[in-house]
């Protein structure tokens, strides 16, 4: 009798997944009723690139939580910090007069410079934060939440102190202000860059988590630091570096978003944190794949709805989150 139920379950499971995909894809074709194909495709490309930008923010959050079991609410502040770091680099380049005349190749180079600077700055801040604050609160979720809220507050105030409280216009390299047209669909170069970067980082994270021992070491370290230390790994530095990597991802996402919106302001972290939170909740805490899928869902649905009913855009994302939570309380790819 027991084997019977088991068989039934295994037979049933792939079908349910299959049904989920069909329903999901069907939902994303739904906007076609209200718009023509060209608009739909334009919105889709824009939505996917927005999704990739959101993924960049969410991936760091997911990485830190998935590996270290730390929910870093200061993530939004790292994101804003990265945005300002990238902005500073672009500003310097602009003052040298190189931004307005940049070809596509030059633009990519400048972007790499800005992202590199943001990544280093974010990572550095991450190392400081982990060494000073986070390492004291491992294993206590409540303390982590509280302490990272405090850190977030401090970083945002520092941003205001250094760069002032007002919005700043971000100089966008000339090459990115161009676009090309395929099948009547208008595609900006920067969107392609965003999509490319998002997929690359997704691939790198997947490789590191699935193909290397890092994931196992860190998770074992969360369970028992002493044992991992005994095997010769310097677990406390590994923790620091994972945290720094997550922060660097947030910072890179910040610079990308700063260019995308052509503006930075000290409060920008909170505006995008809500997207990152929705994505992580939809995808399931700690699952990089989940964040990737969640980010695409949020990016697409946000763009479709923002086109059709501008004021509903965020509300729809919230509804999607609520529905997914009702069906799967742990998120789409969440484990226990």
């Amino acid at each position: 009798m027991k084997t019977d139920t088991l068989k039934f379950q295994t037979r049933n499971r792939p079908f349910q997944q299959y049904a989920g995909w069909i329903i999901g894809i069907g939902l994303f074709l739904l906007p076609l009723i209200q718009m023509d194909l060209t608009t739909y495709l334009t919105l889709t490309v824009a939505g996917i690139s927005l999704g990739m930008l959101i993924f960049l923010i969410a991936s760091g959050l997911t990485l830190i939580f998935g590996l270290m079991d730390v929910l870093n609410l200061a993530h939004a502040a790292f994101f804003a910090f990265g945005a300002y770091a990238g902005f500073t680099v672009l500003n310097l380049l602009n003052n040298a007069g190189w931004i307005d005349t940049a070809s596509l190749a030059q633009s990519l180079f400048y972007l790499a410079l800005a992202l590199g600077a943001a990544g280093l700055a974010g990572g550095g801040l991450g190392i400081l934060t982990e060494k000073i604050v986070i390492k004291r609160v491992y294993g206590n979720h409540l303390m982590q939440l509280l302490v990272t809220v405090g850190v977030s507050f401090v970083i945002v105030e520092l941003l205001k102190m250094i760069w002032g409280v007002n919005d700043e216009v971000v100089p966008v390299p000339m090459g990115f202000q161009d676009a090309f047209i395929i099948f009547g669909v208008f595609i900006e170069y920067f969107r392609v860059v965003a999509i490319f970067l998002g997929i690359t980082i997704f691939a790198i994270l997947q490789y590191i988590l699935k193909q290397t021992k890092l994931g196992i070491i860190v998770r074992a370290g969360v369970e028992n630091q002493e044992i991992v230390k005994a095997t010769g790994y310097n677990i406390s530095w590994i923790f620091t570096l994972v945290f720094a990597a997550g922060s660097a991802l947030a910072a890179i996402g910040g610079t990308m978003m700063a260019i995308f919106n052509q503006a930075v302001d000290p409060g920008m972290g909170n505006q995008f944190l809500i997207f990152a939170l929705i994505v992580v909740i939809i995808g399931g805490l700690g699952s990089v794949t989940g964040s990737f899928v969640g980010a695409v869902i949020v990016g697409l649905s946000f763009n479709y709805v923002a086109f059709l009913w501008p004021k509903m855009a965020l509300g729809v994302n919230f509804m999607i989150m609520a529905i997914i939570l009702l069906i799967r309380p742990k998120g789409l790819f969440g484990k226990d």
Partner: protein, 360 residues
């Protein structure tokens, strides 16, 4: 018999000192507007009372139930907006509109907090924190974007009805003008005392004891036959209602609301800091936390600026003085790491230790 001794022991001298202290504090709040007729002082006192209630209600959740909900500030905002909207849209504001606002905000709070607790059953605590944070952000964005209803980022100003009308002067007594603002001040005092007493009763009720038990050892509490989810729901709903009522008081004091002043996550962070300073799970701590925070918030910027003024050519120093909230952030982190029990909590630990020494 022993049981008499048992109850009398539990309610010995400690209690009367406590009662006297409370009476003393209420008296101070009552008398100060007459002794120091300064608007600034009255403003600080009123805000301390309002935030004591908001912070205490959050402590019911965090300290007594062990739930970290970032949506708590949202209920504060719901209360503030409900009275602002009702008074703004009514042509002839009158006293019952305040009760109407109270009723409306409680109704909305009950519905939303029930939904929140329904989700809290389904997800892990850390997930719940994220969910409520997202919800709080959503409320803020809604407040800004749904400008047809909320007036957008500009907010709503309104006038209070009857004796509460700020423009009105009822007379002078002992050199103090009795005006609408003073009436609102005393209204806040009365309501705050009432709500605080209500919360004290709540935590000392059978239900409050169960909540304490859940926080201590949830599995054992279930095995005693308590359906813990019901109790946690009660706590979530009760504290949400109190928070929304404190929001009403806040709006009444300012006669103005905007999304940044009531829905912003910074409010939530401030409330968190106040709870932490006073100590989680110590209702009285909320008064200390709110008092410390509001007083510092009022006088720290000026103090810093005057310090910075000593070296007036230093831009960095001036900048550092401007960002006084930075020091709150640093304080926040330090309190969480080194002082997690807060003022009252640490005090109690010391008292307990002494008590154990005496009894053994």
């Amino acid at each position: 018999m022993d049981i008499k001794e048992l109850t009398s022991l539990e309610t010995s001298g400690k209690k009367t000192i406590q009662e006297l202290t409370i009476a003393g504090i209420i008296f101070v709040f009552f008398i100060i507007p007459w002794i120091i007729p300064s608007f600034r002082v009255m403003d600080v006192l009123a805000k301390i009372m309002i935030f004591t209630i908001a912070v205490a209600s959050f402590d019911l959740l965090l300290g007594y139930t062990g739930i970290l909900s970032f949506a708590h500030g949202m209920f504060f905002g719901i209360g503030a907006y409900s009275i602002a909207l009702i008074l703004y849209h009514s042509d002839t504001p009158s006293g019952y509109h305040i009760f109407l606002a109270a009723g409306a905000s409680i109704a909305i709070s009950v519905v939303i907090s029930l939904m929140i607790s329904f989700f809290s059953l389904r997800v892990k605590a850390i997930f719940f924190a994220m969910l409520t944070l997202a919800l709080a952000e959503f409320a803020h964005i809604l407040g800004v974007q749904w400008s047809d209803l909320t007036g957008g980022a500009d907010g709503i100003s309104f006038t209070l009805p009857g004796i509460f009308n700020f423009g009105q002067t009822l007379g002078t007594l002992f050199n103090t003008q009795i005006n609408g603002r003073l009436m609102v001040y005393y209204f806040i005092l009365v309501i705050a005392v009432f709500l605080f007493t209500g919360m004290l009763r709540f935590i000392h009720s059978p239900l409050g004891r169960v909540l304490k038990a859940i926080r201590e050892n949830e599995q054992r509490t279930i095995a005693l036959g308590y359906k813990t989810f019901r109790y946690q729901t009660c706590s979530i709903v009760f504290s949400a209602c109190i928070a929304s009522l404190s929001g009403i008081l806040f709006a009444m004091w300012l006669c103005y609301v905007n999304p940044d002043s009531v829905f912003h996550t910074a409010i939530m962070v401030n409330i968190l800091l106040m709870v932490l300073i006073g100590g989680m799970g110590t209702l009285y701590g909320s008064l200390i936390g709110a008092g410390f925070f509001i007083v510092t918030e009022n006088w720290l910027p000026g103090l810093l600026k005057s310090i910075a003024g000593l070296a007036s050519d230093s831009v960095i120093l001036a900048n550092m003085a401007d960002r006084w909230q930075l020091y709150f952030g640093i304080l926040f982190v330090l309190v969480v790491i080194f002082f997690p029990k807060g003022v009252i909590g640490t005090f109690r630990v010391i008292l307990d230790r002494r008590h154990q020494l005496h009894s053994s």
